[in-house]
């Protein structure tokens, strides 16, 4: 990132913290110039919104030593540690690159001279947060790991989930004239489904 772009981002970030709305722009009579200014205003407004959104989950220096990381990880390949509004994401991987996915997608930093990796974030309103963490090492899901879910004490509850469906799953294919290809279709029919009674439909796109 160039110094000039960085300065612009910092200035915009400061503006976003102080006043989330854009300042009045100079007026011009030339319509093309007006259009340019409007486009620029829209772009800058969007940049401010993005930066304000980024502040909700803000990256910090990892600042964790190997001993502490090892203690938190125990025998697990991945872990997260919540302290106040700070969350440290940890992984153990012999890899050249480790990336965290889940709530956030971001590179993790190697703790010097170890196979331990870390990333620290500050989350606003963490009591309400639903966090998910799954590390990828060299582009593949970290061996032996599975998604780690964490919910703050005020986070929404997980909805009821039914393991054994009574309804019917149907798989079909459909030739599309519009696309000139055959598409695969999945249909769920509820337990009370009957062809003789029209049903409501949820057209889900997956």
């Amino acid at each position: 990132m160039s110094r000039r772009v960085l300065a612009l981002l910092l200035a915009t970030l400061a503006a976003a913290c102080a006043t989330p709305r854009e300042a009045p722009l100079p007026m011009a009579n030339n319509s093309d110039r007006c259009a340019d200014l409007e486009k620029r205003a829209e772009t800058e407004e969007r940049a401010r919104e993005r930066l304000a959104a980024a502040l909700l989950a803000c990256r910090l220096d990892s600042v964790i030593d190997a001993a502490e990381a090892t203690r938190i990880l125990g025998a697990s390949p991945a872990a997260l540690d919540v302290r106040g509004d700070n969350v440290v994401f940890l992984a153990r991987a012999s890899a050249s690159e480790v990336k965290m996915t889940g709530t956030l997608t971001a590179p993790m930093e190697r703790i010097a001279k170890t196979d331990l990796w870390a990333a620290r974030f500050r989350f606003q309103f963490i009591d309400y947060a639903m966090l998910k963490f799954l590390p990828f090492a060299d582009g593949k899901q970290l061996a032996g790991s599975k998604a780690i879910n964490w919910r703050g004490p005020k986070a929404p509850e997980q909805p009821a989930l039914k393991r054994d469906l009574k309804g019917t799953m149907v798989k079909r294919t459909l030739w599309s004239e519009a696309l000139q290809e055959t598409r695969k279709i999945d249909i769920y029919l509820p337990p009370s489904y009957s062809r003789r009674r029209p049903s409501r439909t949820l057209h889900g796109r997956w």
Binding site: C34, A35, E38, R46, E49, R50, A53, A54, L56, A57, T103, T105, F123, Q124, Y128, A129, M130, L131, K132, N149, G152, A155, P156, Q158, P159, A160, L161, K162, R163, G167, M169, K171, T173, L174, S176, E177, A178, L179, E181, T182, R183, K184, I185, D186, I187, Y188, L189, P190, P191, R196, R197, P198, S199, R200, T201, L202, H203, G204, R205, W206
Partner: protein, 558 residues
């Protein structure tokens, strides 16, 4: 994401809702995405297929999005209807998606509100496209959700929700402290699916009550000759504002009233520098610059005018059409299918009604097209026969036969392809279109000052039923609007009168039986309504433009 196995995952959340009675039994139809959703090998296309199918304007995707939309609306939906005997009523259909598929659900709802009543779109960050031309009765409502920690997906979702709300769409939003996370989408799905599929709406067992309309705000202190009111966010502050079309046969300045989102309209100013004889003010983005402009229909000898917004509520006045037309109303819709809103001019008298095509950037064809000869005080655009083209309902104002003119494509209309509705000697002031009886066909509600309020139901083959009388001609009906005021997914009818309270006719879901609820006072004559949530309490408020009485807002309350 990316294949149909997600459908089964969502079914595991949805079936417990059906079991518990939180929602009625529903069928879920999902088309798998990307190469995993296609039998043939499409790798030669060299594009990421999921994004190409779901995102309008995705790079190097050509017309793939449009073709996929056609597949979805014109092939998959009819296939599912036939194969599984699914309901054809839009109020019983909802779209759902997350991430890129949320973008597709949103865009499909914008384009095919005639097929779907609701879109549940979670974490779709792609820019909203400009497809706002469907008539009010065919507008889907949107339920948006996203995670506050997911950056651009959150910002994009919020931006789309704001843009739709600015255009008076029905929009709900909820943002969770979460990332791009299926757990968050599951929570939102379970929370909002009952909004899309209300519990047992057909039996009336859980019928929501009609709001009370007893909180009144006078918009002005004086009684003048106003004829209509429009609603939209003109100054870009996120709150809905009003535009009053004033004058009728006597020149007056049209007025902009800026809302504060709490039901107050303390700031106001003249729309343009010139008083004129206005009958209507349509709110629409004419020049595709992202803000709302205004079309004003003026009676002769005044020019017909458009006001282009600078995004801050300041307007640049232009003219279109001919000053000598005896114009009584204008309506706006994309008639020729080029994505730009065109203007329909209803002329009462020997002058034919006109269609003025939008050439882009707010410029209109110099010679507007004569489209129907009936003297009319409003033309209502709607796709009446489900062919994707906007047709015209032209009610006869002065003792003649009313017709629906079918669009033959490219904005071509002909007396040879028109369908009569109503009596041969109608005096209809205006009509509106909706599927009152939920049979999948468009119905017409008309107010005739000599015979009253009547519905004409769409029938197989395209004809309309004889009149089903809803109310008589005393008091004389002068204004008409259709909206679902009690959130029961059935279209209600709102009628304004001459020197009598207005009336809400609450549809019992059959379209043929209505419960009357009068509201407002008996002063003056109501000429036009606008219905929107003006105070952000989640309930639809009613703005009424009146002559010989001050203009007014009736706020909905419980």
């Amino acid at each position: 994401m990316g294949d149909g196995e997600f459908l089964e995952g969502w079914a595991r959340y949805i079936e417990p809702m059906i079991d518990s009675g939180a929602i009625p039994a529903i069928v879920i139809v999902g088309a798998r995405s990307g190469q995993a959703g296609i039998v043939e090998d499409r790798s030669a296309l060299g594009v990421e297929l999921r994004a190409a199918d779901y995102l309008p304007g995705f790079k190097n995707a050509g017309d793939r999005f449009d073709r996929h939309m056609r597949f979805f609306a014109q092939e998959l939906v009819p296939y599912a209807e036939k194969e599984f005997a699914l309901a054809r009523d839009r109020s019983k259909r909802t779209l759902q998606g997350q991430s890129n598929s949320a973008v597709f659900a949103r865009e499909a709802a914008l384009r095919h509100g005639d097929l779907f009543s609701t879109a549940l779109a979670f974490s779709g960050g792609w820019k909203l496209s400009e497809h706002f031309g469907l008539p009010d009765a065919q507008r889907a409502r949107f339920i948006f959700g996203a995670g506050l920690y997911e950056g651009g997906f959150f910002v994009g979702t919020q931006s789309a929700a704001r843009a739709l709300r600015d255009r008076a769409f029905n929009v709900l939003e909820e943002y969770l402290y979460a990332g791009h996370d299926p757990d968050a989408w599951a929570f939102l799905l379970v929370k909002y699916l009952p909004r899309a599929f209300p519990k047992v709406p057909d039996t009336g067992q859980s019928k929501p009550p009609l709001p009370r309309y007893d909180r009144v705000l006078l918009l002005e202190q004086t009684a003048e000759t106003s004829a209509n009111v429009g609603v939209g966010d003109f100054d870009g502050d996120g709150n809905l504002d009003l535009v009053l079309a004033k004058g009728r046969h006597w020149p007056l300045a049209d007025r902009i009233l800026l809302g504060d989102g709490k039901g107050r309209f303390d700031k106001s100013y003249d729309l343009g520098p010139t008083p004129d004889r206005s009958y209507s003010a349509n709110v629409v983005d004419l020049d595709a610059d992202g803000d709302l402009d205004i079309v004003v229909g003026n009676d002769a000898p005044d020019p017909k005018r458009i006001y282009l917004n600078d995004g801050k509520g300041r307007f640049d006045m232009r003219e279109f059409g001919r000053p000598e037309w005896p114009t009584r109303n204008t309506t706006v819709a994309d008639i020729n299918g080029d994505g730009r809103p065109d203007i329909l001019v209803a002329n009462r008298g020997p002058t034919a009604n006109r269609l003025c095509l939008n050439e882009g950037k707010g410029r209109f064809t110099a010679d507007c097209i004569a489209v129907a000869s009936e003297p009319a005080t409003r033309i209502t655009p709607a796709d009446m026969n489900g062919d994707g083209l906007v047709d015209l309902a032209v009610p006869h104002r002065d003792g003649g036969q009313s017709h629906v003119y079918l669009n033959q494509g490219s904005a071509t209309f002909s007396p040879a392809l028109r369908i009569p509705f109503g009596p041969p000697d109608a005096h209809i002031r205006m009509c509106s279109i909706a599927d009152l009886d939920k049979d999948g066909r468009s119905d017409i509600v008309a107010i005739d000052e000599r015979t009253g309020v009547a519905a004409y139901f769409g029938q197989a083959g395209g004809a309309f039923s004889p009149a089903v009388q809803i109310a008589g001609a005393i008091p004389a009906p002068y204004a008409l609007a259709l909206a679902d005021l009690n959130a029961d997914r059935a279209t209600d009818i709102i009628v304004g009168h001459v020197e009598a309270p207005s009336t809400i006719y609450v549809n019992d879901n059959t379209g043929r039986r209505y419960m009357q609820h009068p509201f407002g006072d008996s002063k003056g004559t109501v000429y036009g309504f606008a219905i929107a949530d003006l105070d952000n309490d989640g309930l639809p408020d009613i703005a009424a433009a009146r002559s010989e009485a001050p203009n007014v807002v009736y706020f909905a309350g419980r």
